[in-house]
Symmetry: C2
Subunit: 106 residues, 2 copies
């Protein structure tokens, strides 16, 4: 599990956006592009409002190498999806980092 | 892998904070408290500054159940560490959410 690159995207969607459509687009992306090693998403409903500053959705993808990640960013499906995605979000945070696994799932 | 709860903490440390000490504290916490199912951290060095808004470190823990997570929050070691941690951070985001695994690592 060590050595993976994580692409973590945290967003608040604009009002009126059909979040399910966004999810379907992301699922399609993750299944189409082999370089995506794993993909999880989540919707925050538990933390304190003050601590999440209006952000609601978390998208987390992992890649085995920098090459895989670069390939993903430039993949036509990603480029196309990103264009649609960017019109749907009110605000966004993006983090790209090598993961350091301190305690792994049993 | 499905059904886990994720506790995602994103921070910017204050200037002068010895980040390694924070990491050691977190590692100790994750190893001491059995309820912590997995623990990863990362330091963002790749995304665009504009997209990360000054945040630099990502801490990600998973728990098997809401009970485990609640137990973690109230654990004396967590309470003690949180007090020290909160003095070291300039800003913080916290997200707690059930993870939905769409594509799992092979």
């Amino acid at each position: 599990m060590g050595g993976d690159l994580k692409h973590l995207v945290i967003v608040k969607f604009k009002e009126g956006v059909v979040v399910d459509d966004m999810k379907k687009g992301l699922e399609k992306l993750a299944s189409e592009i082999e370089a995506v090693k794993s993909f999880e998403w989540g919707e925050d409903m538990k933390s304190e409002e003050m601590l999440r500053q209006g952000f609601t959705h978390i998208i987390s993808m992992t890649f085995s190498s920098a090459e895989d990640f670069t390939g993903f960013l430039g993949h036509p499906s990603h480029v196309e999806f990103s264009a649609a995605f960017s019109t749907a979000i009110e605000k966004i945070l993006v983090f790209d980092f090598p993961t350091v696994v301190v305690k792994a799932s049993a």
